[in-house]
Symmetry: C2
Subunit: 290 residues, 2 copies
Amino acid sequence: MNDRLERIENALLNSIPADDESIRTVLESMKYSLTAGGKRVRPVLVLEFAKLCGGTEEAAMPFACAIEMIHTYSLIHDDLPCMDNDDMRRGKPTNHKVFGEAAAVLGGDALLTLAFETALSEKAAALNGYEKCALAGRLLASCAGAEGMIGGQIIDIESEGKNAAIERLRLMDRLKTGALIKAACLLGCISAGADDVQKKAAEEYAACIGLAFQIVDDMLDVTSDEATLGKPIGSDAENEKSTYVSLLGLEKCRSLVAELTDEAKKSLSVFSGDTSFLSDFAETLRDRRK
Amino acid sequence: MNDRLERIENALLNSIPADDESIRTVLESMKYSLTAGGKRVRPVLVLEFAKLCGGTEEAAMPFACAIEMIHTYSLIHDDLPCMDNDDMRRGKPTNHKVFGEAAAVLGGDALLTLAFETALSEKAAALNGYEKCALAGRLLASCAGAEGMIGGQIIDIESEGKNAAIERLRLMDRLKTGALIKAACLLGCISAGADDVQKKAAEEYAACIGLAFQIVDDMLDVTSDEATLGKPIGSDAENEKSTYVSLLGLEKCRSLVAELTDEAKKSLSVFSGDTSFLSDFAETLRDRRK
């Protein structure tokens, strides 16, 4: 796992264009957030599903990098003063606090753009063929766009201070977090040329861990502390946001996460290969402290 | 020409996801700017080069829409308070003035994402094949990213109040405006399966009209009026921006634009088809009043 994480970090770093004095600000903005030490959940899922379906890490790596770039850009833009107005992220000042708002907007834009350049790159095409690259890019775009992640973000913004009902919260999370988790699992399948049964199982696994992931996020905002989490806790309550905790209570959340983790593990039964990593991964996400 | 513009408008409008109450704000933000009556220079170039190289308008249309979406998103983000802070665009209030900053950031993000979804769509692939779609997406990303349009924007921002030299102005424009104009001409070539000689000629044409376009823009900021231009004039001087006019004077600009237009027309000589539209188009851009 640690070797793989290191290879992901290297691939991400190598994807950023070479230093150029005239555009240095935007390159530094991109690099700062892309290498800020995320958990790399999405790229790990891409690589593991590729392996499980008979593909190679090398071929899936451009897709893994692309999805992490999209995740990172979304965090930069979410943190902006006109959005969530957050000063800290992963224990470090947010992008706009370091580079200013303009460079944060542009750095995010550039990472989103670089995601597609990476997924459609000469290297990606040589390893996967044009069809898989085009399908990967299409999936990334549909999961990250207005009917996916961005749609979830607008629902999130418009729900603040409104005590949204559980149905709205589910829709928001399915779009805001769920769509990219689903894309991650399917990107691995695409790279490996998986069949429909495998893709369906990957989607089920993604739906379960995606929801569990979000519920755990809400729980940590209540039960963790700022030093562990790398950002202030209690922000949901402060922003008058409905969360799974505020709607269902901590106990119910805990049992729901346990159920979803079990379901995620069960969905892996269709694969003939070694699914222990993905089983353990679901448990790691369940038990995480940050 | 008018029929074609109407088909472009229809294709753009039809590309936006169907109305959905829960994400309506971001859909309206996208639609507002995408249908705000631009000149559609880039999609027209895509379609005309496709036709000139033996392709079809139908096959090139998804690429034409994609590049206009990228152009539109860049205008939305450029107008933001943290960037150029403009209130008016094409005679209408800018996106953030209507929808607020958060929806403007997200609407721009969603248009950029939709550009790739459109270029890689099922329809685009059925008409062009996966290879051309992947190459089109790759070209769009490289021309729109940190080493293209976004790089030009960061240079622009960092040059304000600094009386930049002509070399820096050239670099900025080559990236900020030139990269997308080049992409437009080449996208038409890609859709039509043009050969290298044709692609090189398309790039030369693009370089000439791209630079001429930017010089005319600078001239109009001095010589036009707000009612004709649809936005306040004199903004470059106000922002202490170096422009071709401030560096070279109006007369020199005028003769430069004339030379570039002639060069653009000459570059079309390699094509065996009817190049009168592209010749006239170069002249139209030279003579435009807004």
